[in-house]
Structures are given as structure tokens and as C-alpha cells.
């Protein structure tokens, strides 16, 4: 029986202390890494929101117009025609607006009325011809210079003008409904996102219509029927690789193949949708295979045992059970496609498109590309508009991802 040496020597205590300190440091490093990521995310979203709130507003000049003095005639039958606005222009509506603006704001104030101001008055008249028989007050867009001056970023004399008009209550900012309903323009006061949003929606429809059926059918084939041989290995390898190929390469493919096949459809949602479909399909196949794999074999065996054919087993039993999982993957893939920019730049969707697309083959742009184009503008007013468009895009993505999470939680099954 030898004497036991004391274990807790001084050196041991010191070492233990050091080890515990290292433990704490390591733990703190972990918390720090997560905190950094979360802070960056919060900062990113915060900057966009703060900048973007201004983008939903615009600087407006208040101009009362007394149409009884103006002498315009508004025949509802004429105004409801497509050329109603031209009719009002021919009757001198721009001059009328200019006249009342000068009376209210003075000549230098009226000079800062946005270019499209009379158009807004005209649209109001087209919507309600009875307006021509009375006096009405309009909030008309101010020029970009005046808008910048109101924010304290303009030339000194412009800032003085802005301060004077603001003090008189004739200049202010208001929520810009038009931002959600207009299309691209050259003046930040005139732009809207509806054109880009509609382009995005049309593109997504094409993408979904192509990628979803092809992806689901391919997943079914690979998971349920495919024999294990070199062909299926090749298919599998190419799907896995496609899922990791940079998106810009798909843009090059679209440029070389789709635009060669359809040379007249440059920047059409159809071509954009086809390009994005090739990119989204592997994502759908991979998530679809996982969902199909999760369906227990006993269901297939049961169906086969009562005489169903292999095709019936899959389409009547496996597919319905796997569908929620497939849908979750599809929504995530679509969300990625919705935020994609680079491949669409390649196929020419960066064109300036001033009116919303009216079909799958007309020139269009999409929301992320619109953001990219606006971010290149030198005009300060575009900064806020870009952030506002980013907010809209992020909201769409948030809704889509929320839907995917909801579906996953609701249909998650334990067999």
C-alpha cells in the first residue's frame, strides 16, 4: 500500500484554471460568432428598412385647380377611350396645370413641378369626369431637385425655396401609391415597381410550369423505378452537379441556346422562365427524392398486395403522401429563383422597360434586375427607391419561406 499522492496539487489547480478559462473563451467565441451574424443581418435589414421607408413616399406640391375656370370639356364617352389622356392634352391640360401651379406656388415653384404632373391630373379626370365642374386640390409630384432640397441635399437657392413652400404648407411628403402601380422611368419621382413585379410574376409562372412537373417526374423515376445502372448514376451525378453550378452559367446557357432558338424574344419572361426552370429543377428533384424516400415501404407493399400496378402505387399512394415535402422544396427553389439576377442579365432582361409586360413574350424586367438597374443610377432619389424595392422583394421571399415552413410543420408526419 503506497502513499497516495495528492491529486489537487498547485500545478494541477493552475492547469485546471487555465483549462476552464479556455473553455469560457471558446464558448464566448461561439456566442460571438452567432451574435456577429445576427447583428449583421439586423443591420442589413435595418438599413434597408430605414432607407426604404422614404422610398414609399414622395415629395408633393399641393396645387388647387379650379376647373370651372379652365374651360376644359370632359365627355365621359371620349375620356374612357384609350386616347382619353391625349384628348385632354390636346385641350391644353398641361397649360392649365401650369397656370394654376404658378398662381399657387409662384413661377419658380411651378417650375419645380414634376414632368408627369399634368398626367396625374388627367388620370384623375379620366377616372372621374365630374371633377371638371368643380375645384379640386391635387398633391402633385415635385421635381427631383426640389425633393432633394427638402431632404437638405440640394442647391442653396433650391433649399430656400423648399423651406418657404414647406412653411406655407404647400410642400410635403405623402405615401406614394403610384410606387406600387407604375413601371420604370428615368425620374426617381416617377418610378414604380409594378412593371418589374409583373415581369417577376410572369417569369415565375413559366419557371413553375416547367420546373415543377419535370422535377417531380424525374424524382419519381429516380426514386421508384430507375434500375441501378450507369445511366441512372449519370443522371444522378448531373443533377447533383447542376444544383451546385453557378447561376451565371445557366445565363450563358440561356443566351447560347434559348436566344439562338428564339432570337426575337430577347428579355421576354418566357426565356427568363425557361432559364430559371433549368436552375430550379435540380433543387426540386433533390427535395422531391427525399420526400419520396420518407414514404414508408409498407404503403407501397400494401398497395401492390391488393393488385395495384407500379404506376398506380406511385400516383395514387406515394405521390399524394410525398406532395407536402415536394411542395416545401419547390417553394424554396422558387424563392431562390425569384431573387436571382445574374442569369437574367445574361439573357438581356436588363433593358429599360417603361410599361408593364402584357404577355410572356413581351420585353420585361424582374424585381431583382430592377433593383440592380436602380442601384446604378446616379440620382440620389433612386437610393430610397432601390431600398423600397428591396423591401418589397424581401417581403415576397419572407412570405414564400414562411409558407414553406408552415407546410413543413403542418404536414410533417411520423410514421
Amino acid at each position: 500500500m503506497s502513499e497516495r499522492l495528492p491529486t489537487r496539487t498547485e500545478a494541477f489547480e493552475a492547469r485546471l484554471k487555465k483549462r476552464y478559462a479556455a473553455e469560457r473563451r471558446f464558448r464566448l467565441a461561439g456566442i460571438g460568432a452567432i451574435a456577429f451574424s445576427i447583428v449583421v443581418l439586423a443591420f442589413l435589414l435595418g438599413t434597408m428598412t430605414l432607407n426604404g421607408i422614404g422610398g414609399f413616399q414622395r415629395t408633393e406640391l399641393t396645387v388647387p385647380i379650379d376647373f370651372t375656370e379652365a374651360g376644359l370639356t370632359g365627355d365621359p364617352a371620349v375620356l374612357s377611350q384609350p386616347g382619353g389622356l391625349q384628348n385632354l392634352e390636346a385641350q391644353g391640360l398641361p397649360a392649365v396645370v401650369q397656370f394654376f401651379a404658378e398662381r399657387e406656388l409662384g413661377p419658380e415653384g411651378a417650375a419645380e413641378l414634376g414632368n408627369g404632373a399634368w398626367r396625374e391630373v388627367g388620370e384623375a379626370i379620366v377616372a372621374d369626369p365630374a371633377l371638371l365642374n368643380r375645384r379640386a386640390v391635387f398633391d402633385l409630384p415635385a421635381s427631383a431637385n426640389l425633393a432633394a432640397a427638402l431632404n437638405g441635399e440640394g442647391a442653396p437657392e433650391m433649399e430656400a425655396l423648399a423651406a418657404r413652400l414647406e412653411a406655407e404648407g404647400k410642400l410635403g411628403t405623402g405615401f406614394d401609391v403610384g410606387f406600387l402601380t407604375r413601371a420604370d422611368a428615368t425620374d426617381p419621382q416617377q418610378v414604380g415597381i409594378w412593371g418589374a413585379l409583373k415581369g417577376s410574376i410572369l417569369t415565375m409562372i413559366v419557371t413553375l410550369a416547367l420546373a415543377f412537373p419535370i422535377g417531380v417526374l424525374a424524382a419519381l423515376y429516380l426514386e421508384e423505378y430507375a434500375p441501378r445502372n450507369r445511366w441512372t448514376d449519370l443522371i444522378e451525378v448531373s443533377i447533383n452537379n447542376l444544383a451546385a453550378v453557378p447561376s451565371i452559367i445557366f445565363g450563358l446557357l440561356g443566351l447560347a441556346v434559348f436566344l439562338w432558338m428564339f432570337p426575337s424574344m430577347r428579355s421576354a419572361p418566357l426565356i427568363g422562365g425557361m432559364t430559371l426552370a433549368l436552375m430550379t429543377m435540380p433543387v426540386i428533384v433533390i427535395s422531391g427524392r427525399n420526400a419520396i424516400k420518407a414514404v414508408p415501404p409498407s404503403i407501397r407493399d400494401g398497395a401492390l398486395a391488393i393488385g395495384a400496378s407500379p404506376v398506380q402505387v406511385v400516383f395514387h399512394h406515394v405521390l399524394p403522401l410525398a406532395l407536402p415535402g415536394i411542395l416545401t422544396g419547390t417553394i424554396i427553389g422558387m424563392a431562390r429563383a425569384l431573387g436571382e439576377t445574374a442569369p437574367l442579365l445574361m439573357i438581356g432582361m436588363r433593358a429599360f422597360v417603361a410599361s408593364p409586360p402584357d404577355g410572356f413574350t413581351s420585353p420585361a424586367t424582374v424585381l431583382p434586375v430592377q433593383i440592380f438597374l436602380w442601384s446604378d443610377e446616379i440620382d440620389r432619389g433612386f437610393v430610397e427607391r432601390t431600398s423600397a424595392a428591396i423591401i418589397v422583394l424581401l417581403l415576397f421571399l419572407l412570405v414564400m419561406n414562411g409558407l414553406a415552413i408552415y407546410l413543413r410543420n403542418k404536414f410533417e408526419k411520423k410514421w
Binding site: 473553455e23 464558448r27 451574424s37 424525374a218 451565371i248 450563358l252 447560347a256 442579365l345
Partner: protein, 461 residues
Amino acid sequence: MSLTILLLLALGLGLAGWLAGRARAWSFRRSAGAGSLAALPSYHAWYVALWIVVPMIIFIAAWSVIAPQLISQHVLASPAAADLPEFGFKRESLLSEARAVATGAATAVFNQEAAALVEPYREAIGRYQTIGIVVALILGFIGGVWSFLRIKPDFTARTRVERTVMVILLLASLVAILTTLGIFVSLVFETIRFFGMVNPIDFLFGLHWGPDPMANAANPDPSRYGAIPLFWGTIFIGAIIAMIVAIPLGLMSAIYLTQYADPRVRSWVKPALEILAGVPTVVYGYFAALTVAPFIRDLAVAAGMSNPSSESALAAGLVMGVMIIPFVSSMADDSIAAVPQAMRDGSLAMGATTSETIRRVLVPAALPGIVAGVMLAISRAIGETMIVVMAASTAANLSANPLEAMTTVTVQIVAMLTGEGSFDHPATLSAFALGFVLFLVTLGLNFIALRVVKRFREAYE
């Protein structure tokens, strides 16, 4: 628009065929008694519908590719096209202008020379649209009648429909191979054209990048097509700066979330990190260009640099690193979770602290998976486009200073292809050669990473 009409037509006819087939099958069943059919009525219906829809869809797909060519040939053969200029950009623009007016995409021609072509275009479009609709209808009709007449009580409709379904499934899975092949062929084809003008050696090993899209296309200056600065910029931004940010942060987040964090915290923090991966890259690019790049520039000025560039490799790399964090962290998360619990317990039982267990046992055991994840992250970073397009510059620069402007392969692809250059110019074609290099590199990285993961997973089973 005619495409939509044709597709609706095909679907409508298919529906009619479906109903007719089912009605016929039901009539057999009623007259001969239940159970006498060789297949359920709905299979007869699907048989007829498939015979209508499939030929029509194939024809429509082919027609939508062929018809535009036929239309332009028809227009070029018309007398109005006789005084068009010879081949070239002007001719193309006149033609597309006339086409836009004829299809209603534009209201008036800009060049008066195009006005004469509008009528021939309108006529040709109308003619070929009619031909397309008539042929599609005939095809659908023939298919429908033929299959309808084949329906008999003893007709095994189910096996035939199922065989078709299997063929469709196989075709769907072949799309992936076709896409890969399409990428490969289109890139190789254009790259070979490019290498016919510029020597591959000059391209791959040249130290100066500055293609001039306005220069004479027939005789390009090979010394302007050296891609080394681009490759360096790509590696510096994507594989060095971004990874310096992403690997430690991603790895530490994964370790904390799997080993330390309370499950409730984890259930909130993990989705929050995933949001970082879901933010569109154009938003990151805007953030980098608007907030991060000026901030870094101000820092550089404060640190005493005389004239820092407002577009720096550092800004693009940092933001890209943040974007990659959740990617690294989820890969590391998976591979740490795959380490058997017994190894962790054994280490803890020996008296190691949690951090010692993680550093000495878990991370080494999970290393192949982590390395594979890092390789996938690098492959994603070097293929990333929008952040570098918006935050890095287009000036090629061979430098190790992160505060200098640098350009990457993807930036140059975008720059070369969004200009007005023609497709016969080496500057435009160089984008495809760059794309080909990018494709091969990312393919290689992905392939190795998948191999590593596969091998590693087998080790513990």
C-alpha cells in the same frame, strides 16, 4: 400569343378526347355488363387524351422554333425586302423593328425604311400562325380518332397508358443530362471559336486583361486577353477574403449551436442564420456597394491612406463571407452531428472539458465533412456574381492589397455580355471562355467535395 392559343387548344382537345373516350368505354361496360372491360374507363379516356395532346405538344414545340425562321425567310423573299442593306447590324435592327410593329409590341416604326416591311411581316405571321393552328388541329384530330377507334372492351388501355407514363418519367429525368450537355456544348463551342482568335496560352497565362470591344475583330491583340488578373481577383475575393470571414464564423456558430446552445435558442437562431442565406445576392451587392464599401474607404482614409479606391476587394469579400456563413455552418452542423455520440461521451468521461472534446475529438472526426463543406462554399463564392458586380470594380488588377479595386471572372462575364458588342467579336466570346473555366473549376470542387463526403459518411456506418 399564338403559343398560348395553341397550348390551350391542345389542352381543350385533350379534355374533349378524355370525355369522349370515357363515354365510349362506359357504353361498352353498360352494354356488356360490369367487369367486362380490360381496363377501367378512365384509362381508356387517358389513352385517347394522350394520343391527342402528346403529338400536338411535340408539334407546337417544334413549330415555335421553326416558324420564326420561316417567317423571316418569307419576309426576306418579299419584294419589299429587296432594298434592305446587306448583312449587318442595321439590317437586323430594321427587321426587328418591323417585326415589333407587326406583332403589336410597338406602335410605330422609328426608321422609315422599316415601314415597308411591316405589311409582309404581318402577312407572314398571319399565314404561319394559321398553318400552325391547322396542322396542330389535324394532328390532334387524327390522333384522337385513331385512338378512339382502337378502344374495344378487350383493349388493354392501362398497360399502354402506363408505358407512356414511364417514357414521360424517363424523359423528365433526362432533362438533367440534357442541361449539363447543353451547358457543356454551348460553352465549348463558343470557347473554341474564341481560341481560334486568341491563343489559349495567352488567355490562360497572360498578365494583362483589357479587351476592347471596339477594336478590329479580325485581328485581336492577344496581349489584352490575359486572364490571370481575373483568376487572381476571383480567388482573392471568393476563396481568401470571404473564407477568412465565413470559415471561423460558420464553424463557431455550428459548434455553439450543436454543442452548447439550449434547444429553444437553437430553434430560433438557426432559422435566423438561414435568412442570411435566403437574402438575394443583389441585396447583398447593394448593401456592399452602398454601406460597406464607403465605410471601408473612410476607414482607409482615417488610417492615413492617401487615395483609397471606393470599390475594394475587401468590401465584396466581407459581404460575400457573411452570405456564406450559414452555408458553412449547416455543412459543419451536419458533419459534427454525424460523429458518433460514443466518441463525445468517451472524451468527456476522461475528464476533458467540452471545448477540449470539440477541438480534439469532434472537429478532427468531422474534418472531412467540414472540408467538403468549405470546398462547396468556395465553389459558391467564386461563382457568385451580383455582389462582385456591384461592389468590386471592372478594373483588372494583380495585387495583394485588399483595399485595391479588383475584378473577377463573373464580373467580366457580365461586362462582356451586356455591352453592345457583336457575337463574332473576341471580347464577347471571351465571356464564354471565362464561363467555361468557371464551370470546370466549380465542377471539380463540387465533385471532390461530394466524393469526400461520401467516403467520410461510410466510415462510421
